[in-house]
Amino acid sequence: MKILAIDTTETACSAALLDGDETLEHFKLTPRRHTEYLLPMLDALLAEAQTSLTEVDGLGFAKGPGSFTGVRIASAAIQGIAVAVDLPIAPVSSLLALAQGAARRYQADHALVALDARMQEVYWAACEQDCNGLMQLPGEEVVCRPDDIPIPASGGWHGIGSGWGQYGKILQSRLDGALQKIHPDEQIHAQDVARLAKQVLLAGQGVSVEHALPVYLRHPVAENPSQSS
């Protein structure tokens, strides 16, 4: 099974091809320049793997939460490819993808993911590894103030993501003793999106373009005046 996956959620842009257990990935830190790198990366990936889109079985993308604009770029790009080649799509949580990266790089089996959500808030998720080595979300993803993060019962957590850089002190004081290590500079990688996408697609849970949508968690800044009055 070949899966093509992308991420443009935050400051990095990456694309990966997962073929069986082998991954090829192109990754670049490229704040606000995703559109310049995304398609050249995808093109280079397929060329390197000496394959083409017709041999790909499914698509994955990081659906958010994260930068609204970033997750929309990935979403719209995957939709464009899917309209062209009619492939199933696996939208993957960007928080879960970060946790999967921590599992790959640091053998983390418990991850508390915090992405800086601006406006004094974080996107937050507690992720746990299953017996297949894949991160899962037992609870819900939330957007909240760092003071309000839900506190996990157990210990031994890895703290992952930009939220740990921005609000490290507050988060650590909330989680006193429950943390094993913190990785605030960890970025989302498309290869982890691809691994998580694979389980979705294998389970036959791939979606078509109308459901390949971003997850924002936060509502638009402007509240609907007709509802609030």
């Binding site: 929309r72 719209a76 790009a77 373009v209």
Partner: protein, 335 residues
């Protein structure tokens, strides 16, 4: 050559297919209702809706017309000017579709799309012509010598004409978008009750200014209100005086532009060009000058994918195309 065109610069999601035979298909979805409660377009809501609507619309259009990869020779999308988040949805979608299909793609200037839209009609203008682009975002006079050869002759120094329509409608308490509502109300207004100024017509040049008219309308609205006043008629009379002033001002500047360039063809496009009284006035003026006026059909006055497909068709035919890196230009002067 057959081109798929996509427009997402503001609050309309448009998609169309144009080929050597003409316009094959075109669909527009308008977000007006989503923004109505806010009295204006909310950029984040617009972007969120484009990403929901565009791909299903594209898939449906292709299926309906039995179009597949081999039937398309190139793709075009609006690269600017417009709302950044909204433009990015159309750009990312279209460019990725083009990449997956291995077809050339090109970003189109939204206003170029508008000014070429009248050429989609059976009776279309020859070059050169003067284009009056009037919408909620722009009021511009442009000399068009050929495709891609545009010279800006004048533009609004403050509010666009459509913006002035919408803002004046808002202060009179009309719904959103208020421009068309204001024009409807003006039909029952007394043309002789109020006389609004014709801004910047007493001096040379082809620039416009419409923000003063909005203030003039507000002042009139406030000073004329009394316990005995018929408020509905007062609104209609103000709407009429306002519309007359905008139309007159546009006419004066168009006449000037035509005389200055010794041109006898005028193309009017953009959302405000759907205004019927403006159309009649422009046509009458061109008749009196032994010239001719051209407009797109009403549904191609507002934002649409057809004009983008058409502009893209022209550019792609010359062999132009973009590299795989793409970008949008939220602020992008046409000329």
């Amino acid at each position: 050559m057959r081109v798929l065109g996509v427009e997402t610069s503001c609050d309309e999601t448009g998609i169309a297919i144009y080929d050597d035979q003409g316009l094959l298909a075109h669909e527009v979805y308008s977000q007006t209702k989503i923004h109505a409660d806010y009295g204006g377009v909310v950029p984040e809501l617009a972007s969120r809706d484009h990403v929901r609507k565009l791909a299903p619309m594209a898939r449906q259009l292709l299926q309906q017309h039995h179009i597949s990869q081999s039937d398309i020779d190139g793709l075009a999308y609006t690269a600017g000017p417009g709302l950044a988040g909204a433009l990015l949805v159309g750009a990312a979608f279209t460019r990725s579709l083009a990449w997956a299909w291995r077809k050339p793609a090109i970003g189109i200037h939204h206003m170029e799309g508008h000014l070429l839209a009248p050429m989609l009609e059976a009776e279309s203008p020859d070059f050169p012509f003067i284009a009056l682009l009037v919408s909620g975002g722009h009021t511009q006079l442009i000399q068009v010598k050929a495709i891609g050869q545009y010279e800006l002759l004048g533009e609004s120094v403050d509010d666009a004409a459509g913006e002035a329509f919408d803002k004046t409608a808002k202060l009179l308490g009309l719904g959103y978008p208020g421009g068309p509502e204001l024009a409807r109300l003006a039909q029952s207004g007394d043309p002789n009750r109020f006389q609004f100024p014709r801004p910047m017509t007493d001096r040379p040049g082809l620039d416009f200014s419409f923000s003063g008219l909005k203030t003039f309308a507000l002042t009139t609205w406030r000073t004329e209100q009394s316990p005995t006043a018929n408020l509905q008629q007062l609104k209609a009379d103000i709407a009429r005086a306002f519309e007359d002033a905008v139309i007159d001002t546009l006419l004066i500047k168009c006449r000037r532009a035509l005389q200055q360039t010794h041109c006898q063809r005028l193309v009017m496009a953009g959302g405000v060009s759907a205004n019927q009284r403006l159309r009649v006035s422009i046509t009458d003026m061109l008749d009196s000058m032994q010239g001719q006026a051209y407009y797109p059909r009403t549904d191609l006055c507002t934002d649409n994918g057809a004009m983008i497909a058409y502009a893209g068709w022209h550019h792609l035919k010359t062999g132009k195309q973009e590299s795989l890196a793409f970008n949008i230009q939220p602020r992008w002067p046409l000329a």
